[in-house]
């Protein structure tokens, strides 16, 4: 799985919907029903999967699924 696929699978698990029905335009709160607890669970789960830290300023700008994927793409991920 590439980064985007991993991120989509994490979103799918937390939002409780199938990965196939997730589109880039979907809003985390309005469409995927993520309250602050779910949104934070998502953030930490992504950080764990990719072994990165997403700072608060970047996190505050995440509105859509597309925003999440773009952020994950832009972060340098440590090679192990």
């Amino acid at each position: 799985m590439n980064r985007s696929e991993i991120a989509i699978s994490v979103i799918s698990k937390i939002a409780g919907i199938s990965p196939q029905s997730i589109t880039l335009e979907m809003e985390l709160v309005a469409d995927l029903d993520m309250d602050s607890a779910k949104a934070l669970e998502l953030l930490v789960e992504l950080e764990d999967r990719f072994d990165v830290e997403i700072d608060d300023e970047s996190a505050a700008k995440l509105n859509t699924v597309g925003d999440v994927l773009a952020t994950i793409d832009s972060i340098e991920i440590p090679t192990t």
Binding site: D31, A59, K61
Partner: protein, 577 residues
Amino acid sequence: MSDIFTGLPNDLRELVRRAAIDHADHGITIFDGRGRRSERRSYSELVELATTAAARFDALGVGPGEPVMVALPTSWEWLEAWLGLLFCGALPVASSGATGLAAAETQLGKVDQVMGAIGARHVVTSEGFRDQAVAGDFTRAADGVITPDELRSATPTLGFNPPTVSADEVAFLQLTSGSTGLPRAVMITHRGAVHNPAASTEGLSGQMHAPVQDWADCMVSWLPLYHDMGLIGCLLLPFLVGYELRLLRPQTFLARPMLWLRELGSNGRTFSPAPNFGYQLCVERFKPQQLEGVDLSNFKIANTGAEMVRPETADAFVEAFSPYGFTPEAFLPCYGLAEATLAVTFDQEGKGVRTLPAPEGTDAGFAMTEVVSVGRPIRDTRLKIVAPDGRELGGDAVGEVCINGPGIFAGYYRDEEAPAESLIGDWYHTGDLGFLHDDELYLTGRIKDVLIVRGHNLMPDEIERLADGVTGGGGLRRSAAFSVARGAAGEEPVLVVEADPGELDRLDQTAREIKIQVGRALGLPLADVVFVRRGRIPRTTSGKMQRSEVRKRYVDGTLEVIGGQKLEGENVRKQGG
């Protein structure tokens, strides 16, 4: 003053200083944002830090009695700033800063507005907040920033001698939701700030029927320090008792609730307060692999308050966590609010969550068949239940809960008219509904229009303004926000919007656009957006919207809905499963 004050100081600063002397070997451990690293300091180190910070604030020109905002996450920087301001004689005002997810702009705007309303020149906050304030053109906030680094690099005033205070002087301001969405600053006196934790230690006698310090050694808290339950209950009370204190950020708990339980199960005999949704979240996110070796028989006091206590949540929590040693008797319901400093009542039976069948008059929108005893008033505090005409009601009759006692606030800062609505004589009219049975309080609903969603207090205006922005409403055309509960998950926000017949084909789009605006600005998923014909949201003869009436019709099914019903995830949720 009563004898509980014997030996207790009249100055909150003195209460903090004594912790350093009386509990020299105890201290506070604060976790970082992800709950991975922590740093512990003793109470004496903390007092030293605060004393120096006070002299630094003085050097920076912060004067006695001046309100200064603190918008930082739970951290050593927060404690240094808040206590430093208290020690220098200024009025610390804790506020939520950027919470790390969505809504940054909304929070920033609020800090900026509050600064204007209370006349605060400064806000202690991060460099990142300053950058955002500059970018967002919040000039008041941007110009007033003092960062923790700037504070530490200020040369302390040599021989700084903070002013003495009397018990009736204001010690700090506590922000609470105001009727229009802009927070109000509750003035808490030194007397209230010392009395309330002291009376609470006695009220929290629980199943051991002994003051709380005799049967727990450590408090673990994830409650925000800008909330009354976090500040009074989880900081000032530990200072008084000398608890070992372990602080997590609220976001850390929301991301990983099991971390809280791990801490509670591995630090001796522990005590922690949380709103109902915190216990509910633990049940929803139960992860056995994260609880290996955790002994929750150590979790002696599971204080529950700050929102409706739901018996089904307590049952589910017991079922999930009794295999780890958690005992139902550890649950200790309570009732409190910022205008009472914090605590008003505690359950003092020590038998866990006790209920009565919900009486007639219980709010149907809360979906409760049973109501929970939140116990008896703490020392020196009295309760009465009144009818809408002000007449005092007898036992078992549902009416507005009114309180009287030394913790009652001294008014709202720079807002002299507001308390007149709620402070009548010596009695504070809470806007909560309930009844007394055997001198114990049971809550059944509320009159005030506040929404309490997963521990967050929100005023309906905050949602309605965003909706009106989408529909062009706000004048003759209205929208009404309120919350209803459908089960253990607690209250969920619902919005009713007025629409014209010509718009019927666009209602789904309008609803989604509203959900997006509310989601982005408040980080809050609306459970339901429904439309009614223009003019169908009831108003009083003077034109004031009657939200409670809309809510009643929504709940009992008599609201004439013309569209948009239950669009909650219907395209999304049902497919995955």
